[in-house]
């Protein structure tokens, strides 16, 4: 009897294509792949992107970081975060319980809203709930505030939780996005940042995906300014001639959620500088 019920359920799952999502197992496999591919890289160093795997570029970068080009953005971000008074008299600190140390709390899955909440989304939610206009998501003031908050979460451990059906669903969507080929050039994130990581593409060396969220926002010389993680996602979409999505679209938020979970256990070290 028991056996029959069990095999009926099993058959049902098989036929309906139910997949047993196992984020923890995904994470282990993801990390082990990079540990094996780059055995010389200390685990904690994956937060440094391409500079974890290329010594020459690392030295140039370390020199740049002595007088980082995001310094001005940081100062501006500090003022924006601490001195902005909203129309109703409130300020950012009314929305962020941990004040300037808040970045470590993001992204997380908000069950009530049934969506992933990233730091940048929270910044704009805060503004809107106090009667202000939202900021543009990919660059400008939001990236400056984000940089200031990132600085004060440096050294904190990335610790994203994925539990409950709705959160797992968002995670799975992000995972699907990461592994799907798109654009005219038919590339998935995994094609460039996993199997090809460490290889050259034009003037660039492809960084491993592990640790990819830790260093944001970044100042890029190519941009000549500081930008958010979703700005970078847009760039990577555009490179393969896929249409970039708006900042904080569900797809990008889920992708950020997935990637952050893959990097659990590593440390935040934003903001940073990239070519």
């Amino acid at each position: 009897m028991c056996l029959r019920i069990f095999s009926t359920i099993f058959l049902y799952c098989l036929l309906s294509g139910v997949v047993w999502a196992d984020p923890a197992a995904d994470q282990t496999a993801f990390k082990n792949y990079f540990y094996k591919k780059f055995p010389e890289v200390p685990v904690g160093d994956f937060i440094n992107g391409v500079y974890a795997i290329d010594q020459k570029r690392r030295e140039q970068w370390l020199e740049i970081e002595e007088f980082p080009p995001y310094g001005i953005a940081l100062d501006e971000g500090e003022i924006l975060f601490n001195e902005t008074v909203f129309l109703d008299g409130a300020s950012y600190s009314d929305c962020f319980v941990d004040g300037k140390r808040s970045k470590k709390n993001y992204p997380y899955f908000d069950v009530k809203r049934n969506t992933v909440v990233t730091l940048e989304l929270a910044i704009n939610d805060c503004r809107v709930s106090h009667g202000e206009q939202p900021l543009k998501y990919k660059k400008g003031d939001i990236a400056k505030i984000s940089a200031y908050l990132a600085l004060h979460s440096r050294g904190e451990i990335i610790d994203v939780e994925v539990s409950g059906e709705a959160a797992i669903n968002a995670y799975e969507q992000g995972k699907k996005y990461y592994y799907s080929k798109r654009g005219q050039l038919n590339f998935a994130c995994v094609d460039c940042h996993v199997a090809s990581s460490g290889m050259r593409i034009r003037a660039e060396i492809l960084s491993p995906s592990l640790g990819h969220v830790s260093n944001f926002p970044v100042y890029r010389f190519k941009w000549g300014s500081i930008g958010t993680l979703h700005r970078r996602f847009s760039g990577c979409n555009s490179q393969v001639r896929a249409k970039p999505l708006p900042g904080q679209s569900e797809e990008y938020k889920n992708l950020e959620y997935f990637l952050s979970y893959m990097s659990n256990g590593l440390k935040f070290n934003g903001p940073s500088t990239r070519r």
């Binding site: 995904d26 592994y179 080929k181 998935a188 995994v190 094609d191 996993v194 896929a242 249409k243």
Partner: protein, 87 residues
């Protein structure tokens, strides 16, 4: 060209252009729109209005082909991505 056939050509162009646009939007809804399709279709429309029919039609074919290919990609990837997951 008689007025009638000019109208027929316009109608034909509009129908084909709208079809390409619909396909582009379907691909976008699935999250698979390609980067340049919208631009190509817009330019096709502009060339047509400017009287450059041959260029307009060539661009329209490109836009149509891109939208088709993006939708095919979306269908392939519905399950295709699973093969790439790191195990």
């Amino acid at each position: 060209m008689t007025l009638l056939s000019a109208e027929a050509t316009q109608l034909n162009f509009d129908t084909r252009w709208q079809k390409a646009e619909d396909l582009r939007m379907r691909a976008a809804l699935k999250g698979y729109e390609w980067r340049d399709t919208e631009k190509i279709l817009r330019r096709s429309r502009e060339e047509y209005t400017a009287g450059n029919k041959a260029r307009a039609l060539s661009l329209l074919s490109q836009g149509l082909a891109q939208s088709d290919a993006a939708l095919a990609q979306a269908a392939r990837e519905e399950n295709g991505w699973k093969r790439r997951v790191i195990k």
